[in-house]
Symmetry: C5
Subunit: 338 residues, 5 copies
């Protein structure tokens, strides 16, 4: 039995949804027993999509896998929610792992795998979460005008990947907003909190990159692979998503450069702040230390200090003090410290 | 219908300009209905350039696309003003997206797409803005001596790309001036504003790089692709623009290194400034703290302080103070703090 | 004689364990003399695994090597405990060096080589330590249901490498925990000790990377090499471990980026700390230096100082002092220093 | 007409020098009219080198270009003094642009293009400045023993490139000296001027790299290209210069690493300096602040201060002050601040 | 005549040592005249190694080169002690330059070239210094059991390269020790001297890398080249040294990362030191400035200061001072400054 490996998303109860369609017909059933699959296998021009929800059901996965004569290594991978995107060609079928990224209703980023087993007329998908984009696909499939209905299951696989990459774009936009907000904040706030926010965004970016890069390789592999399961006309569509993944990769790269730029600004902001504080200290010391010396002089108790008898000596000290203050003020002005 | 995706430039009303030309003849018409295209299709040695202005007209784009049997994926791309440069070979025609960069009359950098659909005798271009360089092309086409007139539409596509890359050079020169101005400023000004200017230039550079790199790949692809729409003699010309894009890429790389160098100078300038401020503070403290100690000593109220009775004690304190000041002055001189 | 080259693990006495198996039978013997190998050479469908423990036995290695006609360069490598992972194809046999990584009972990371000489029906392995995973392999071999029993020795080699890569994952998880602990600590502690911990993790990472990268290359080579000793069906399995090594490499890369991020936070934390200290100093000086000036003024001994006679002058000085303190307090509040 | 594009070197009047040579004969003429070229075209075993000086002569370049049936794109390049090194194969002739680097009599680095049009028996070179190395070439051509005389014009092209790369080496040596001088200076001088010198060297390095890299690619292309104009035996010579360009590239890379190392030393020097200044300040404050407190105490005017009456109180204060000073001295000694 | 280009090692007098050997015989002679080579040319199964010591003998090199019909470019290279490692195939012979690295009796690192001209039965080597490893080779050649005796000169070339790479390992170990010593030192010492040591090691590393990288490429080229002078069986041996050079390259890469880590620690150590100094200063100021204010207050000369008459005012000031000191002590304790 394959071993279920943790999950980042909340696991759901296992459920099998089967769609059987061709240009004329569309039929969607939720199977109560996996054995019912046998009754729905495609005939003539029919295509079948078996969507298995819930990776935490080793027995079910094992049984479906055995029924379709899937290689044991693939069955093992199907229970690994940490599986990175990859493409494996097993002659009779293509196995590819991809990753779903979306923001759920709790505003959490869900990062979970979606597995495809693509045969000539049957597509089996395995996943873990209530991925909201499936609803769109079901709806599009119901529409008899849709290109999906007149195409084979490879185009269905494209449609699924396309929805996924569209979700990636909204994650990237989300990140883009966070970067912009932080950039504004940086102009006014040099607190360590800002640094931690930069660092958090960087971590998000690293994790996103780790998801997107293998995905990009997978889609590139799909545009060049020569197998009967994927038609030449569908490859044009894969090429289109590939173009989108490149845009995402470039956007992430831009964010990386922006964050590194922001870190420089932050660090230099801290240094500038030190500079400002130092200037205040130095100005205070420069003004009051000479003054303290003068008052110290006339606080001495020598018997013979002629100035002490002078009538205008005391106001003289005040005037001298004011002159020193004013002089320093202009000196600092000249040095651009003020 | 394709979905129009935002724009960075101001969208204009859609308009179709059609040029029909061969060595002997040149005819330029603004079409009122797209259906008129049919009357202008090229015969014999004729070439036709259909220039569609205004990407925010899904219906028009859809209709022209259908008329020329363009792939739906291409039609979708034609409404995306964020489309990066790319080349796609659809056997019957080449589709390539490029990006216009120019400074408009409001001194804004406009970054907007220009799409080419290159058939054997017909070139269709789609764009969004009143790109000023089109005027040059129209003018050169009117000249019967021009190489454009005696060549097919692939040379026209070259001429358009060449004008675009020339505009890139003026953007790069612009950036080069900003870098130089900032470099001068850096010698005298260490304020955080300078840092933000460095950072702004860096952002401009990143965005420019993101535009130029795919463009470079596109033009390289045009120099090596083997299709009937592009003649071998025209490829020499594409090679020439490719050379120019490499120069632009190298210039951007140089700016990147210069900006990183400038950041180092800026940061070290801030540190040096701190040093200067610290030195002033330390000198002041070093001079006046011992003096304050001396005046403090003779300000004490002990009954038995023999110096207090001495006649020359008071001037002695002044002389001692002066000696300390002079001594410190030479000490700082020696330490190169002054 | 080959020269034994040091070891990082504790060397053990040399020992030869021989397993002979096919689908029906399994036999495990510890040989007292290496010459006994001859009696156990495989017949018909039999496979033989000779597991030589203890690299510090030049004579034994030399004799076994000569018996199997192993190339002198290979024999030399077999005594080098620092040997990096590599694959060498000697037509009659494959020689590959891999590295065992595991945490022993003393919580030390053991990094030691495991050598494979893979012939058609004989696998000879050489190693140094009491690698705990061997026990698992012996146990799985005893199980007649196991795929190992029905496969040739190439699948046994896969099983060994698979166990090794699984051990790598636990080392990586270990490191991951250390990184997380350190990340938490960083929020509260800026002492130089933290820096040394970051630096230590970085060193561990570098050394891990040096072990894993050649291992990844080795396993990749095993998935593509075309030799009779490795069957096509087994290559699928190697491809599976290759996938795992890529995950490990990516994890290490992520740790590298996290550590570099942590270093930035640490350094900026030190600077922020300086800032805090400076602010305290500046506030103290800014408050008490003007006050010291005022008390200095009225400590002077001039004969004519009218204020000295005033009754409310003394409480006035106290009130002035309080006003200065309160004023500075609000000034610092406004400057966000408090 | 081609458009002349600026120049970094002082432009000179246009001038055509023609050399016609074979093993037996050598003839060097300065042509007054470009039309005279026709009289000197090579016959039998003769080779002709036409050296056109002065790129700021569009008409002349156009006429010579048309006479030799050179492609209009090449003619355009010939007037561009910013042209980077490149190789273009036009079947009937090779066009390559290279860059001359030398230090002129005013100790300025001159960076200017040298264009080659290499035909079977004719080499045409175009350049801008009075490049001193041409004299060497003329002299070597006059020598009937020289390999140049017995070889075709491809060897002459090699000889020219070889001289150019030799000049590169002297530029690199120059830079190497500057780096060494700066390195020494760094040990004693942390002024911002040093930073600007590091930054200037870095800029020189970047500009040098931009010149050398394309040159290296050009020479590599010459070693692998298969054209009738370049004989196999001459390629060995190009391989030799290629080796030299690699050495230059490596030297530049080494300088880059040294400069980055020097920047680290500089920045850390500034920080150390701050440290030193801070220590002086802190020592002064630590010694004199407690002393000021003591003198302050005995400067108070309380009626009941028993110490004031003591005979030895005053010398006691002096002794206490000395003890504090000595104590602090040993404390700082222990902390290694002195 | 080739031009001798400087040297880093002390040049020695030129000397030719000739070894002629096959399985049965070994003969070693020091030639007094290079012309004697002719008498020793190999017959039948014989191999000849001509070891020319002293590159500063242009005439000798020219004559030997001409005798063996070596290409003039090779002869030129033979006098260049700065020549980087490279391999050139001249059909009749292989020319390769390698670099010797060893520590001489004065503890200086000697970096000097060793040139090989490998013909079918003759190996000519040229070098500059009394390279100690030659003695080993002579000794091994004398041993009739040695594989060298039964192999052709390609195996001899391998043996020489193998000795050289072994010497590289001791240099690397040397460097490794220096890195470790410096790492320990870093924990206790933040003086600028440490920085200069880091920087010196970095420079050594850069220079080592510049030597090892081309060497690695050379040896790789030897493992893949298809020439009659190198037998397939010898290539296995070259593959073995190639493996060693990769280990050296990896070690250097590790040192580079360690040194960069050490630089971070050093710089942060300097910053931490500043922090420590600042804390002392701030604590002193924070304690004594309020105390000075208090003593200042009671040093004023107002006529109406009621506290002055109080009997316990003076001890009260002392008690207040102590309370302030103790309070500050606990405040700093809480802030973790102590």
């Amino acid at each position: 039995l394959p071993v279920y490996l943790g999950t980042e998303a909340k696991p759901v109860d296992s459920r099998i949804v089967l769609c059987k369609y061709n240009v004329e017909d569309f039929q969607k059933t939720q199977l109560s027993h996996w054995q019912d699959i046998e009754d729905y296998l495609p005939k003539d021009s029919e295509n079948v999509w078996i969507n298995v929800c819930g990776l935490n059901a080793p027995q079910l996965i094992q049984q479906i896998g055995t029924f379709f004569q899937i290689h044991p290594l693939v069955i093992e991978d199907l229970s690994n929610t940490y599986q990175r995107s990859k493409l494996e060609n097993y002659e009779r079928y293509l196995f590819f792992a991809s990753r779903i990224l979306y923001i759920d209703e709790d505003h959490q980023i869900i990062n979970s795998p979606l597995f495809f087993i693509l045969q000539n007329k049957v597509l089996i998908t395995f996943h873990e979460t209530n991925y909201p984009s499936f609803a769109n696909i079901y709806k599009r499939l119901q529409n008899p005008e849709s290109r999906m209905r007149s195409s084979s299951v490879d185009y269905l696989a494209y449609a699924l990947l396309d929805e996924m990459v569209d979700e990636y774009f909204s994650i990237v936009e989300n990140l883009s907003n966070s970067v912009e907000v932080l950039e504004e904040k940086l102009l006014s706030d040099n607190s360590p909190k800002t640094l931690h926010e930069i660092s958090d965004l960087k971590k998000q970016l690293i994790s996103l990159k780790r998801t997107v890069w293998p995905m990009r390789q997978l889609i590139h592999a799909l545009t060049v692979i020569e197998v009967p399961m994927i038609q030449a006309s569908t490859k044009l569509y894969f090429r289109d998503i590939y173009d989108h993944t490149i845009q995402i990769v470039e956007a992430l790269e831009t964010f990386r450069e922006l964050l590194s730029s922001m870190l420089d600004i932050y660090l230099s902001g801290v240094n500038n702040h030190t500079n400002e504080v130092m200037k205040v200290l130095t100005m205070i010391a420069t003004v009051f230390m000479p003054l303290a010396f003068i008052t110290g002089i006339y606080g001495m108790n020598f018997h013979y200090m002629p100035e002490l008898q002078l009538k205008y000596a005391y106001p003289g000290v005040w005037i001298l003090s004011l002159l020193i203050m004013i002089g320093m003020f202009f000196y600092f002005k000249k040095k651009k410290w003020l």
